[in-house]
């Protein structure tokens, strides 16, 4: 389905719709093929990959919370080599851009993963500098602008692909992080990763999650995410992929009005696996109802006058570089 109504170009990536499947909630895409027409998804951001396989955290890894979930998977994944040999060929049978989420325990490891994945069939990389569930790396890189800069620069040096940096909300000033990674050469931003949280089993008198703490996601965090997109959109020139508890078209529109050029659906995939299909239809219906000929028109419309989001108007920046 080619539909100019919903199409968007982000960091040189041409997406049929602004709806992306968020990393860690959609596996490698193929798991959802029974329930979602993958050819109609804007892009699939696959489960975070490290250089070598990772077994993840012990104990209970997920629990429901009010309007949300806490997870502490610990970035379990089969590693780059397995992904390239066994999973990517399956995924490539679908007409959908593939974004690979990557993480490492050191700047060198981020660089090595980027290099290993600099192959045909992968359309972009998303750098995870914001996972709260691994002791080394992850979040540490995402809360210090200098470390974030080093990671983004190292990845950029080792890939020919557009680089999206996924930021953590667990910081005092998200704008300074966003600016740092923009200056370091990131082509786009993903906002936001999960909020650090925990839950205690009152009867057992101990934490529910094996990892003690986990990442809070789902509708519970949506207002935080919208606020951060709104703040960052006024201060950076690279496009933003907004995410955080999006479950309906209304939610998606909120993020776009706040300045996100595209949005990602995450937690909703876990409890309502056909959400991406529903949202695609609902956004089309919205455009028809509102007599909008291109959904990108609304990006940043809720921003203060004179601070309209730049990404839509500068979306060719990537091609110029």
């Amino acid at each position: 389905m080619v539909n100019s109504l919903l199409a968007v170009t982000i960091a040189g990536l041409h997406l049929k719709t602004p709806l992306i499947a968020a990393s860690g909630t959609f596996g490698f895409g193929v798991e959802f093929a029974d329930l979602v027409n993958l050819n109609q998804v804007g892009a699939i951001c696959v489960k975070g990959l490290s250089l070598t396989p990772c077994a993840g955290n012990k104990g209970q890894r997920v629990v429901s919370t009010p309007s949300g979930i806490l997870n502490a998977i610990g970035l379990e994944n089969p590693g780059c080599t397995y992904f390239l040999e066994h999973i990517l060929p399956q995924l490539r049978t679908y007409q959908v851009p593939v974004i690979v989420n990557i993480y490492g325990h050191s700047v060198e490891e981020y660089a090595a993963v980027a290099q290993a994945l600099d192959v045909e069939g992968i359309d972009a990389l998303e750098i995870n500098i914001s996972c709260p569930n691994v002791k080394q790396g992850g979040l540490a890189f995402g809360t210090d602008p200098h470390m974030a800069t080093s990671v983004v620069q190292a990845v950029k040096k080792n890939t020919h692909k557009p680089v999206i940096t996924k930021l953590s909300p667990n910081v005092t000033d998200i704008v300074s992080l966003a600016r740092a990674v923009e200056d370091a050469g990131s082509d786009a931003l993903s906002l936001i990763n999960t909020l650090l949280g925990m839950k205690i089993d009152v009867r057992a008198r101990k934490p529910v999650l094996g990892n003690i703490v986990g990442g809070l996601s789902g509708p519970a965090i949506r207002p935080v995410a919208v606020r951060m997109v709104y703040q960052v959109a006024q201060q950076v020139h690279i496009p933003i992929i907004g995410m955080g508890g999006i479950a309906t078209a209304q939610d998606a529109l909120e993020f776009m009005l706040a300045g996100a050029s595209a949005i990602a659906v995450g937690t909703a995939n876990l409890y309502q696996p056909d959400t991406l299909c529903t949202l695609t239809q609902d956004l089309q219906d919205y455009c028809a109802r509102e007599q909008i000929s291109c959904l990108q028109e609304i990006v940043g419309q809720a921003l203060p006058q004179g601070k309209k989001s730049m990404p839509y108007f500068s979306r060719n920046n990537y091609d110029k570089k």
């Binding site: 489960k47 997920v62 309007s67 997870n71 089969p78 309502q272």
Partner: protein, 255 residues
């Protein structure tokens, strides 16, 4: 066998004991396809309810009526809400999910179950021949053993253990299993608490009897994507939701 999302209605909610209920749901497409050992992933649709789906092993199907049964014990927020449903209430069901039990020529068979672990075994037993199938049930007290009535039509012998000795042999299923395993069973299927399954699996391996286990883990997507429910296998990481929940005991190393 594609998985489907069905908007389902409650047909019947029936208490089996003080805390255990049978819930019959309209789910024609799932009823048509589901095999013993597979599960369905249920989402409550009332506002404010738990966001994540909860997995339930299918206990019975009626293809003619297009219904499936689950049997659950009220143990937490989700099952408390489930117990409040009445006929015609709606919920969302995703299924059938997972790999079911291996049914290829099991020969003389012993089912071993504890608590609601007996639910998937009930579906299984309806597909095995009664003349060659026995069941060993473990419970805390005799009050929990309404299961006898449910299994009676499908098996030859019912062996019972209770923790308090109020019915059958005093102790856990392990009080009876070693002696039963010397009686020529070619296949054991076990479903229940992890320590019980581990003990049964070890006893079966010692006697060289093939054993299938049905693992239970907290899970989110149920489709192999989120990796909430993985555990270590002897040869590789296992996803309980898609590689299982039914496994050969020899595939599992982390109970």
């Amino acid at each position: 066998m594609p998985k489907v999302l069905e908007q389902s209605g409650v047909v019947l909610q029936k208490p089996l004991d003080a805390r255990t209920y049978l819930l019959r749901l309209n789910a024609a497409q799932i009823a048509e396809q589901v095999v013993p050992g597979q599960f369905v992933h249920i989402k409550l649709t009332m506002p404010g309810e738990a966001l994540l789906r909860h997995p339930f092993g299918v206990a019975a199907v009626d293809k003619t009526q297009g219904t499936i049964d689950i049997i659950y014990r009220v143990a937490g927020e989700f099952t408390r809400a489930l117990a409040k449903l009445t006929p015609c209430d709606r919920l969302s069901i995703l299924g059938p999910l997972g790999r079911g039990f291996d049914l290829a020529a099991p020969g003389r068979t012993l089912l071993v179950g504890g608590g609601t672990g007996l639910a998937p075994l009930l579906f299984l037993v309806s597909r095995l021949g009664a003349e060659k199938t026995d069941v060993l049930m473990g419970a805390r007290t005799k009050e929990e053993l309404f299961w006898q009535k449910l299994f009676r039509p499908f098996v030859q012998h019912i062996f019972i253990t209770t923790d308090d000795g109020s019915l059958g042999t005093h102790g856990t299923v392990m009080a009876l299993l070693p002696s039963l395993l010397t009686q020529g069973y070619q296949r054991v299927y076990v479903c229940g608490p992890s320590p019980m399954m581990k003990a049964v699996a070890n006893a079966c391996e010692a006697q060289d009897v093939a054993c299938q286990v049905s693992l239970e883990r907290y899970m989110a997507c149920g489709m192999g994507a989120c990796l909430s429910c993985t555990c270590q296998g002897r040869e590789k990481r296992l996803k309980v939701c898609t590689d299982g929940p039914a496994f050969w005991s020899k595939e599992v190393s982390e109970w």
